[in-house]
Amino acid sequence: MVKKRKSTIKDYWPRYRRQMMLATISMQIIVTVIVGVALIIAGIPPLSFEYGIVMLVAFITTLLANLLLVFSIVVLPLETLTTAITVVSGEPTDLIMPNPNTQYNERNGLKPLLQYLYTLATDKQSPTSENAPSLLDTAMTNTSASIVILDHHGTIQYASPKAPITVTSDNTKVLELLFDDAESFSDWLASCHDQIRAEKSWLRIPNKIVGSEGRRIFDMTASFEKGNPAEVVLVLFDRTTVYQPEDNQLDFIAFAAHELRGPITVIRGYLDVLSREISEEPQFREQHLLLSRITVSANRLSGYINNILNTSRFDRRHLKVNLAEQSLSHIYDSINDDMQLRASTQNRTLSISIPDDLPTVAADLSSIGEVFSNLIDNAIKYSNDGGLIQVGATPEGDFVRVDVTDHGIGMPANVVNNLFHKFYRSHRSRETVAGTGIGLYITKAVIESHGGTIEVKSEEGKGSIFSFTLPIYATVAKTIATGDNVTSGIMRNNDNYIKNHAKFRG
């Protein structure tokens, strides 16, 4: 038995055309027969000349009527509509989508019908449809990738099922990701408006703070094309399984580091007491040198502990900076003894050029002391025996710029690009230099929470320059005065400074 094929949309028109032709021919025959019989009844002989003429005229007239009226008024519009329906149905076909703007379609009133049909078809294919899950949705549930599409208003038009999206109380979908203040997605998007195309990637962006349930960590690339209905396309990769174990380790280490603060305080305190007491005795010169090395190690250990604790606070959005008017030379003086000791015990020369008459800056004394300490410590680690490390500061617009320069081993470009990422350590430094991979990460976080920036220039074999900026106090004094300068930092937002409630230095 031959299985009957299920009829489809495109099958309708050939069947209708066949039926229509059959009906037309039948109608033609019936009309001709009726006219012939009528003539015979009227007394005109069937084989006469008159009979033949009348039959011919009647046949041609009905044929023309069928062709002109039935085909143009009934058949052709129906053909156009069925062609349009067949095309938008998505069934495989060679038919061409009828153009609603032809004169014929305008004249016979088909234009609005076709346009409405096409609008319905577009809505059905729209990703915002509430209909059953699309093939894309189904596919995206099986991967660690997510896609989010935004229109030119920044409104989310599509989000695949596993995308980090949250719905606000007014039923608006928003991206649930915690960006660094200095590299936020919204700032990037705002900067795209005067461009045609743009693209940017972010690494290690969490959707919630450390310790929160359902925390996921993403790598993300955003593409922007002006005028495209899908103006911004975000492609996100859920990398939680890669990044989360490192965060868990840091959590544990931070817990341990907290307990280490007591003993290291005692060690550093007694070293301070002891080295000052024996420094006055000439016969203990050698012991004093040995004590200096222990002091340097204890101070570095203390620095690591501070970095770990501050990183943990920053990741939990608990890092705050206590902004006050400070002179940069005063901040540096608070750590100068330690830095000089670190440099001299490792046979480096530390040259400081921070003029006393620089404009004062808005800074947290301890935090910026740690920034100096981290950068100088790095310069010591990655410079050569006997090397020179220079620290200089100059005004630069509304900021004071600090440069920490070494003439050491330098870095290739691929290392520089990743330098400020958490836990990043180059392959080479992993093997040769001790470190945690969080010093520069927290340094950047601290500088940005002050509203400053940090950058690095490096040349392999020649050395590196780490530069950071801090806002001049006078330029932000008003902002600090109107807010709580202890619980709030400041951050740059386009040309203005706004309070940053997210930073806490405990």
Partner: protein, 127 residues
């Protein structure tokens, strides 16, 4: 007002001994107590020029001692300066409230005895 007499309320014997030794060598007269209750009694019975106060203390915490000595608008030790010296992680609100009542708030992990001496010298020169 030059600072000559100091009360140190610190329960950690290593840290207490470290500060007491440095302060004595620098020429200060110092009394050292290791629990909060004794610290409050000592502060109420003798007019010290400076009190160095830890927060996490047995019997009575440093903030309670401070409240007892300087409660509201009443200051029972108007001629005494107070330095909080702690490693205790307080929330910012509590810390701010304490800062307002004291002359210096120092984190143990961030200073050394030498820096404590510098701070005391600065406080002595303030008046």
């Amino acid at each position: 007002m030059a600072i000559k007499t100091i009360l140190c309320i610190e329960d950690d014997r290593f840290i207490g001994e470290m500060y007491v030794r440095s302060l004595q060598k620098a020429g200060y007269t110092i009394d050292w107590v290791v629990d909060g209750q004794d610290g409050l009694v000592a502060a109420q019975n003798k007019p010290y020029d400076l009190i160095i106060l830890d927060i996490m203390l047995p019997e009575m915490r440093g903030n309670e001692i401070l409240d007892a000595l300087r409660s509201g608008e009443e200051d029972n030790i108007p001629n005494t300066k107070v330095i909080i010296l702690t490693n205790f992680d307080q929330d910012e609100e509590t810390r701010m409230a304490m800062r307002l009542k004291v002359d210096a708030y120092l984190v143990k992990a961030e200073i050394t005895p030498h820096k404590l001496l510098e701070t005391i010298a600065e406080l002595g020169h303030e008046d």
